[in-house]
Amino acid sequence: MQKKLFVVLSILILASLVLTACGTPAPKDVTLTLGSWRTDDVAAWEAITTAFHAKYPNITVKFDPTNPPDYNATLRSQLETGTGPDLFFVRSFGVGRELFDAGYIASLKDLPGINDTFSAGARAPWATDSGEPYAVPIAAVSHGIFYNKDLFAANGIEVPTSWEDLMAASQKLLDAGVTPFANGTKDAWDINEVVMMQLLPSDVGGYDGRMAYLNGDRCFNDPEIVAAFQQMADLKPYLPAGFEATSYADAEQLFAQGKAAMFFDGSWSIGQIKKDATAFQWGVFYPPALKGKDTYVSFHVDAAIGANAASKNLDAAKTFLAWLETPEFAALIGNNLPGFFPMTNEIPSLTDPIANDFMNFNKQAKGVDIRFVWEKLMDAPTDKVNAYTSLNNNVISVLKGEKTPEEAANAFNADVADWYGPASKCK
């Protein structure tokens, strides 16, 4: 309660500061552009920026997204030539950090309230090692398996409570002529981020387990990693017949059209699936751990917004950033974009039932953790393979039957140990 009061107060103070700064005579009207990779969410962001404009009538924010594959390159070319947007989405960890170190993102160490609104853990992906923040965390995403309730009922299947159960259920579906899972490998990233890295937290034991790898106490081909690759091999017979050429969008459609019973995906797809899967009842569950293991949820820090250090309207941009700390924004993003979860300490109640189901995973699980390779393991020198790419390639090799789980784990370990200091003894 006190925290909330503090936030509100600090925002009032900031607002008055801004008002006095732009001050008398009447504040000038400014338009800020907000760069993003979320082309899917144009309508929702327009609602959010409209709400902001209602609060600050002299500032207009224009949401201006770029297609995800082009986002990094265009943003960078614009920043390097001084034409970047005033505000932009910042990727977590190394990628965003690199832009900050190069001087393109304004420091937010003076942004009022940032330390109180967000926990240190929530700020860390967008802060220097000494804790200097440079972007305001706006959303985390969760993961899960969307499932077709009608198909489950028709085949007498309950929501499984262990990986073994899940596989048995898949076999049952397959025997009944139903494709169990919709996922494919054509786009590569999805099998890595929403399947493999969804399973890994339970396999390695959440945050503590991941830290043991990062510290060099465990090697990347230990039995837990092999088990995760084995799960991929387990999945193979249950993927669509042409999974190698099935893209992420195809997979979503296979599920939405009722042609596949389950779909490994992220919470960001709630809106999409709601719109497309209208012919049957569906729900979501978290993939259960192997028997004898606890379930940990992959709850990932996804996006933050930073200000362009070279923006001509840095003050107005910071006004917007401060507004992102308010409960009003948290409720707006949580409800306008179901499946994106505010990262504030105080989480507003969410209206979307499926979004609440995702939040419940966190409560039921032993713990939550971010995606396995995001922290440190992607910062490879340019002539080495980073852990993301290596994991991705090896997962696909296992699915295509080119490598056994052990071979894949060994190859993954070799790639990481090749450059990641703490893992050097794993060579």
């Binding site: 552009t33 899917d40 144009v42 997204p65 297609n67 030539t81 034409t83 059209q257």
Partner: protein, 275 residues
């Protein structure tokens, strides 16, 4: 006689098969843009049963296609005119000026064909900012004209070199200046080669979205290619709309081409590159 008939039949068979291969994807594009999403997957290749214009209406509302087309047309037409004009002048000099300098320049021009233009993006952007052209369609024209030079000089020079020398000599004897030879003799003869260069560049310019993407943030200066790629990203999982976007991108140029096809093919084959 029998042989001729057989040949004719074979011609029709080959061309009909190819016609199907060409038209089938276009058919898929257009019929599916009038179907609701579910029907696209249930019956991807038949005529729409639940005819809908939703995709088009939604997409037309979300983007400003009228504006995008105007922008693309201005950029394409101005760039093409400049490419053909200054490119053909240069090609004439490169073909007829016998000197080391022109040999070197010829190679220098076509060298531009061989480096991915994206490599120069940052330098180009600094230049555009220095000229204060960013966020306008005028930023695109000099870049496209420059991009068109290698192919223009390459094709046109090769063409002029193939023209018989007597034509030039006759004009020279009549006391014509180089400019007169160029404008009265060479330009009219060059029509087919100019058409080739125009078509090559038109497709590249009309469909380029890289430079609009980095040069232009203002909605009012977007081109069709940029608008389409952004809308396509927005609707990539909404197939009715995605297909409507793609149809809107494809159809105007398609119609324009079909209207001009006769002229174009005639222009190309009229003068012909003599063997």
């Amino acid at each position: 006689m029998l042989r001729t008939k057989f040949n004719r039949a074979l011609t029709y068979i080959v061309l009909t098969v190819w016609t199907i291969i060409v038209l089938f994807p276009l058919w898929t594009l257009i019929v599916n843009s009038f179907k609701p999403q579910n029907e696209i997957f249930a019956d991807p290749f038949g005529l729409p049963k639940n005819f809908t214009l939703d995709g088009y209406i939604e997409v037309w509302k979300a983007g400003h296609f009228g504006l995008y087309f105007t922008n693309s047309l201005i950029v394409t037409i101005l760039s093409l005119t400049l490419i053909l004009f200054i490119g053909s002048m240069a090609a004439y000099a490169l073909a007829k000026w016998k000197s080391r300098v022109s040999n070197f320049l010829y190679v220098f021009f076509i060298a531009g064909l061989m480096i991915p233009i994206r490599l120069g993006t940052i330098d180009l952007m600094r230049l555009i900012i220095a000229l204060n052209l960013q966020n306008t369609i005028w930023s695109l024209i000099p870049v496209y004209v420059a991009m068109g030079m290698p192919i223009a000089t390459f094709v046109l020079t090769a063409f002029i070199k193939e023209l018989p020398n007597e034509m030039f000599d006759a004009a020279k004897v009549d006391g014509a200046s180089e400019w007169q030879v160029y404008s009265r003799v060479v330009l009219p003869l060059m029509r087919p080669a100019l058409a080739t260069v125009a078509i090559f560049n038109m497709i590249k310019i009309w469909n380029d979205f890289w430079f609009p993407l980095v040069f232009i943030r203002q909605e009012s200066a977007r081109t069709v290619a940029l608008g389409v790629s952004l809308l396509f990203g927005q609707y990539h999982t909404d197939w009715t709309r995605a297909l409507a976007v793609l149809s809107l991108a494809a159809i105007p140029l398609l119609i324009l081409y079909i209207l001009l096809a006769r002229e174009f093919i005639k222009g190309l084959t009229a003068g012909a590159i003599k063997g």
